[in-house]
Symmetry: C2
Subunit: 360 residues, 2 copies
Amino acid sequence: MSQRVFNFSPGPATLPEPVLREAGRALLDWQGQGAGVAEVSHRGAAFMAMAAAVEARLRRLLAIPEDYAVLFMQGGATLQQALVPLNLAAAGARADYLITGHWGQVALQQAAPYVDAHVVASAAPDFCAVPPASGWQLSAKAAYLHVTANETIHGVELNQRIQAPCPLVADFSSSIASRPIEVADYGLIYAGAQKNLGPAGITVVIVRRALLAREGQRRAPILDYRAHLARESMLNTPPTLNWYLLGLYLEWLESEGGVAAFATRHAQRSARLYAALDGSGGFYRNRVEKSVRSRINVPFFLPDAALEARFLAEAEQRGLVGLKGHKAVGGIRASLYNALPDTAVETLIDFMQEFCRHHG
Amino acid sequence: MSQRVFNFSPGPATLPEPVLREAGRALLDWQGQGAGVAEVSHRGAAFMAMAAAVEARLRRLLAIPEDYAVLFMQGGATLQQALVPLNLAAAGARADYLITGHWGQVALQQAAPYVDAHVVASAAPDFCAVPPASGWQLSAKAAYLHVTANETIHGVELNQRIQAPCPLVADFSSSIASRPIEVADYGLIYAGAQKNLGPAGITVVIVRRALLAREGQRRAPILDYRAHLARESMLNTPPTLNWYLLGLYLEWLESEGGVAAFATRHAQRSARLYAALDGSGGFYRNRVEKSVRSRINVPFFLPDAALEARFLAEAEQRGLVGLKGHKAVGGIRASLYNALPDTAVETLIDFMQEFCRHHG
């Protein structure tokens, strides 16, 4: 087997090695059943017990209050961006959107067929800052206010506690479980697992139960949160292998000290990386306003595209992969998700300093 | 490791052992990249090449004509049951449904919010036969006719070639790739992978490209087939691990002789199992009309519930698992998917005969 590289991939992202080793064994034989974890019935006792344990562990890790339901769904964050208006707003009702990057724009686009989507503020086209809350044009009566907790592509993270006159809905795909949050501040939180929680193919939804009393819009049961909740996220066959991997990932998060420990880790290593960028005499540039720089996704640029290409190629030779920036912005991007070891960030910083000495 | 059992589970279902072994290795290191298959970017060269190879292999295996698009999606067959009316019918338009079992009823229920869903014929409540085509009340102008190729719970399989005045849409979740079909007979075919093609969490959609010109209904891009097709089934992050496993499964199907070989295998082993049922002097009873008995899912009953419980317990001791019937019908059900070895069926028949001798 090749040595494992340092994988800065933006998602699907690196997974903890112990999780992968255990999953490899469980593919052939899970819990001594003589069948693998992807081969057993989701309604069997073993899988049902595992699913309940995963929910309990997620509730513990994120301190999810009892009056919130937890759903495990397919379709990624993007499907949630359609389900939120379908479930929480009447057809054509006003819904507010704060746009701090690419994914906020996607959320808006997915909601547009269903609601009167109103942009309260936007940092387009540069997305280097979060518009000050004092200037947000909040609607008098919105079904909800949608925000993106962390913008994976633009590297902008919301740091403020938001006071909204309506339920707050947040896409936490790239920063869930990276620091403690007050779940009660939100009406609904959703997160694709493939960055900070597990593999692609499963999405976590945390929703205040009272919000599910809303009528929402005409929709099939498969698009209805209530139907999923009534069947314990097994309205139809769930992505069992993905659910299992998410469970192992949560176990690993807990064994590493839980969300508080990761908050410290993320704060320290992102600070070291930004310090390296800012201390490069302008060779490396991150354009985001310091107060909202993402602890998780760090995009940066070199003086020109040729140097960026060389940077990526040499980084790869050092076992530092997945660093290419998103095509929407170009440049370099380091995604520092939970499962990325601290040594990966140290190795990257060392390499960056060396590269700067040679080419700066 | 425990010895692998014979797993008759209705889905998620048994997977080929070589597939599981290879996947176990690929979890830690895929193609010598130093990162596992679930950890690499779906837009990276390696994964894109794999995805293209999976589609090409599926097209070869199922003889899918060029004027059909193939999509790989999340959400299971149930999500397709909402997407079909949303994409292929105008709001409130007439759509026809043939109901031959539980899953046809579910399809109808998912479509009801979107179309004037008309039941052309139903075998409810017993679902032991397919209503003769001569009696189907087909609509003069329906957007499509929906059928369930194989009813997993009731064990009823459509064997006839259907002549419909509108595009035929078929749920093939439990019988895809179990015998050659004429794809051109269908407007759209969908199948959750977790029975005959791979793990849960990925769904195959095969659709005549011309049908995608239909306007359909107001919907988010994530619910629009055209948006998925335009982005090569990577409109958002796809379930990469599931896609990879599906690919390995297809490779295995091909190495075992392809769909024609499985057709022979299914015909022979289901015939042997039905012969054992019918030759038991009434001890084992399958209620389905012989001409439409499923080659894939074989439900049957013993004289009473106590004997059924004992049957299941003793079967499990022999390493024959997953045989409990669906709660909607009770009894026993043997699901004979592609990856189930022939020896599993032989072992089951031997056990059934022995059990009958002791308790008949």
